[in-house]
């Protein structure tokens, strides 16, 4: 049996099982168990790829290539750590009465299904299934965001649904157009929407159709990436959902959406032989970096602030892929990985901090280091890492991006400097008093799950100083494939 089937099967089974048992106390552990299973399967899959190179499954409907193998592992991994984090977190939420058993059942079940949709989106070779999985991911996360049933969470979920629904619908139109272009080459019974087939013939695809298709796909999936000005759902959804959901939204879903954009970009570049896709990505990426940075400086809610930080980083990654070329692409891929790790770690720490303080308002969270030094250092180091302080991996990718931009797109560097500077000033000025100074926070009965925070930070640190050879190889191959 193919490990891939386990990677996809375990979360589905988990979703079903937890739909039945999710309200029990043991559900938290069952959730971790299924996530662990998924992660182990992903590890086996990774080992297979390391041993045997890229592979296909189920009549080429699924495939693993350098661009998605690390994302699959990353998704399974962050899925696991978030599940671990959500154990104590959800217990506290239940004790506070914010989560009732039915809600917990919904939460656990949807958590597994959400993992499934992301893994499906990553591993499928079919652009149509990719779309279906993205839409399904939207639907599951809508339920996750609204799980508290408060006015604010309903509003956030509604906006999320409508905005992303519309966005995704546009992506479907793009997919239809892609199909149209592919039919021109393969005929009605041809390779259909399989990406590998399309990539082989990308130079023969009709440029007119592909141009239009990319526009729709970019706007569609770009909405889910959170590119300004399509980002408006993102801060609300991050701020109002449960913190584990914010962590996976920022850490994983945005990556998956960007992954979809990248797949489309490869085809578009091949078909058009112009820099259209690159220019669009540079423009939107840069706009996102700058606008998100200015939004950052006016935030009061800690989760909302880090949501904007995700927009900023997604913008930076998009900018990097827009520049293209081996180094910028490499940096973009590295940034996706590290941002995912660090941002989820931050949300873990923030989750604990907010539970301790009983609020998400930053002004009411003060002096964490007194009460809970580990959470405080997790938040501090995580924030510094995400702001691009070495030796964390975010710095490594920003280093590559900025140095490349200086000679590739020198005009953009003042904007990047502005964006990064304002973002640093904004985030740091808010995190500093939260961590240090006199405290307002009361200790909590439950011990926080700090393993995920520090494992993530540790990995983020490692990627700044040492990139494992296989990961390096995948990055290089993927960067070559993405071209530029």
């Amino acid at each position: 049996m193919h490990a891939l089937y386990f990677v996809l099967g375990i979360p589905i089974v988990g979703g079903v099982v937890l739909a039945l048992t999710g309200h029990r106390d043991a559900a938290r552990d069952i959730n971790v168990g299924f996530s662990l299973g998924t992660f182990l399967a992903a590890c086996v899959l990774t080992a297979q790829v390391i041993a045997g190179g890229p592979l296909f499954a189920w009549d080429r409907q699924f495939f693993i290539d350098p661009l998605n193998v690390f994302l699959v592992t990353l998704t399974a991994f962050v899925g696991l750590t978030t599940a671990i984090f959500s154990r104590p977190y959800m217990r506290v939420e239940r004790d506070h009465g914010k989560m009732t058993p039915p809600r917990l059942r919904l939460y656990h079940s949807m958590y597994q299904l959400f993992s499934f949709t992301m893994l499906l989106a990553l591993t499928t070779n079919n652009m149509g299934i990719l779309w279906v999985a993205m839409e399904a991911a939207t639907l599951t996360t809508v339920l996750l965001v609204s799980v508290y049933r408060t006015a604010a969470s309903l509003e956030a979920a509604w906006k999320y649904f409508i905005l992303c629904g519309v966005g995704i619908a546009l992506a479907l139109l793009g997919t239809v157009l892609l199909h149209m272009a592919s039919e021109r080459v393969f005929g009605p019974e041809g390779g259909g929407l399989l990406w590998t087939n399309l990539a082989e013939v990308k130079k023969q695809l009709d440029p007119n159709i592909i141009t239009l298709a990319f526009a729709f796909l970019f706007i569609g999936y770009g909405t889910k990436v959170g590119l300004v000005p399509l980002h408006n759902w993102l801060p609300d959804a991050h701020a109002e959902g449960p913190t584990p959901v914010s962590a996976v939204l920022s850490g994983l879903l945005l990556n998956v959406a960007l992954y979809a954009v990248l797949r489309c970009k490869v085809l578009t570049d091949g078909a058009l032989q112009t820099a259209l896709a690159s220019q669009l990505m540079i423009a939107f990426g840069l706009l996102s970096v700058v606008v998100a940075a200015f939004f950052l400086s006016r935030q009061k809610d800690v989760k909302r602030m880090f949501a904007y930080s995700s927009i900023e980083h997604m913008g930076l990654i998009t900018f990097a892929f827009g520049m293209g070329g081996p180094i910028a692409n490499y940096a973009g891929l590295l940034h996706m990985t590290v941002h995912s790790l660090i941002k989820s770690a931050i949300f873990f720490a923030v989750g604990h901090a907010c539970q301790k303080a009983g609020t998400q308002v930053m002004e009411d969270i003060r002096g964490l280091i007194k009460v809970s030094p580990t959470v405080a250092w997790g938040l501090m180091l995580g924030s510094l890492a995400i702001l691009g302080m070495p030796p964390f991996g975010v710095f490594a990718s920003e280093f590559l991006i900025l140095t490349t931009a200086m000679r590739e797109q020198p005009w953009a560097t003042p904007f990047l400097l502005l964006g990064l500077g304002v973002a640093f000033a904004a985030v740091f000025s808010k995190v500093l008093p939260m961590v240090f100074g006199e405290t307002t926070v009361k200790p909590l009965a439950h011990s926080p799950a700090l393993l995920p925070v520090f494992v993530h930070l540790g990995l983020g640190l490692m990627l700044g100083l040492y990139i494992p050879p296989y990961l390096d190889l995948w990055y290089r191959q993927a960067a070559r494939m993405l071209g530029g």
Binding site: P235, F294, S297, L402, T403, R407, G421, P469
Partner: protein, 674 residues
Amino acid sequence: MSALTNPSQWAHLDWLLAAVAAWLLVGTSGLFALRRLAFVARVLFPAGGAIALVVFGVALSAVFAPPEVATLPLGLPGLPFHLRLDGLSAFFLMVIAGASAGVSAFAAGYFRKGEGTPPGLLCMEYHVFLASMALVVLADDAYAFMVMWETMALSSFFLVIANHRIPEIRRAGYLYLLIAHIGAIGILLAFGVLQANTGDYTFANMRAQAHTPFWASVAFLLALFGFGAKAGLVPLHVWLPEAHPAAPSPVSALMSGVMLKTAVYGVLRVSFDLLHFQVWWWGVVLLALGLVTALFGVVFSAAQVDMKRLLAYSSIENIGLLFAGIGLAVLFSAYGMKPMAALALTAALYHVASHAFFKSLLFLGTGAVLHATGERSLGKLGGLIRYMPWVTWLTLFGALACAGLPPLGGFVSEWLLLQSFLFTPGLPSSFLNMLIPVVAALIALVAALSGYVMVKFFGVVFLGQPREEALAHAHDAGAWERLGMLWLVAGCVLLGLLPTQFIAVIDPVTRHLVGAGLGDTVAAAGWLLVPVAIERASYGPVIFLLGVAAGSAIAYLLVRALYHGRSRRSPAWDCGFPWQTARMQDTAEGFGQPIRQIFEPFFRMERELPLPSDSHPRYRVTIGDHFWHWIYLPIAAGVERLSKWIGLLQQGRIAVYLLYSFLTLVAVLLVVMR
């Protein structure tokens, strides 16, 4: 492999890496002894100091050795950390280690219970700080350099906010890290220019690139921005007087005395090593910025009433002098006048070393005072010479060196700097020739003002009557603290007395950077410091010292021999004024008043003058920084305004959000289908 296991075959770089590793090890041990102060203070900090001594020795011998390279198995794939030990790095490493050895010894006696951050953690941050400074000057590729550079900023940031419960300290730390980070992005962009799109970030590759003057200038300006932010060049200096005083004193000493030098190192590395040629106006820019900084620093320093802030501003002044020296070197170098460039560069490098020693010493002195009295404000100190004689006399050396007085270290560098100005009439541009006298005059003015500042600092803190009664309980520094200060005093004195020997150390560096050195001419003259020829200029500090000492001693002996040596003690006379209280002495504000008056436009003063009718008259004056109001506040306000406008984008209406998506779609469609 055998070379690695057998220390007798180790090259300099191996020793240095072992020392850096040992520092990190010491730091890590601190984490395991988080709250065991005695262990941290009596074992770990002295161990760190001992390692610093090893580094000092190795670096000193490495100055004369050929460059060595190494790579560490860290970093990005295809870009492991490249390290290179050449003359320039060895010189700076020597300065770093030399000053930090004394600071570490002092720190062993300094840290007490009850500060915000646990001592073990402080020890960790401190040693990471040391290690990162050492690696900054060793780094031979952009990535390693940036990682170490930011690690340095980060570790020192955490040290600054050691006492994080005070909001001002947090604010200082914030400002510090913010400007450091923005500066770091500037440096990063400079490296981005220098790598010239080759994707190879090693310095070796950057040296091999041929840049157009335009791109070279872009790189230079970006690097100047970045390193200037770290060095505290006006107008990027605002963090410095906040952050340096906020840190615990040994850390202030390291930051002011040592860390600032890494910025100087960076400027030298970029403008003389990584870039092949210099453009004359770079020198003018450096000179101008340096002078403005120096004058600004010293004038503000004179107006300060907090002893650590005073020293921090004095650091700004010294950095300004350093940059002026480098600017002159660039100017000469751009016109191919190598010996002159070497002279100016020697002056700058000499000042690097002497400033490292005397400023560290002064900060340690304030640390001891702070510990003994709990007071940083000059207005509440005084008369400590009677309670803390060790600290007083040791600090006096630092103050004299800082004031640029012969025969101590600070004077030699100023002397060399002024000498190099006297050679400027050789420059081929008459415009520059016009400029130089003004510049020299300003340098002389700054040097004289720093004497004023030091008299104020030393006199108000240590001399006169105690301004508070509690000062009578002040205790002198302990053995470790004295040891640390003594080491630094020795540095100041030796730097002052042995310029020829020390210039021999600088010689390889200037040869490497500008292709000429003073070593030969200086060595030929023996004990006299003769930069060019004995008819032109010479300075013999040993003879100088002996002359003054002999004059004093003979006078003393003769007076004793010819007359009686009787003394009587009585109350101070003070023109017969009967009620003498400590409050009748000049306050720090009063001592700075003439400077405030003369340089009034420099300050943004807010004064509250008492009315004649006040029964309890109080005079209050606050000194503000124009740059803060001219540059930083407008920027902050601009950002705030802009973010307010941008915030209007998001008003919560889903219809509007959909409209954004719609318009974006239409716009993109229009763009792609054009």
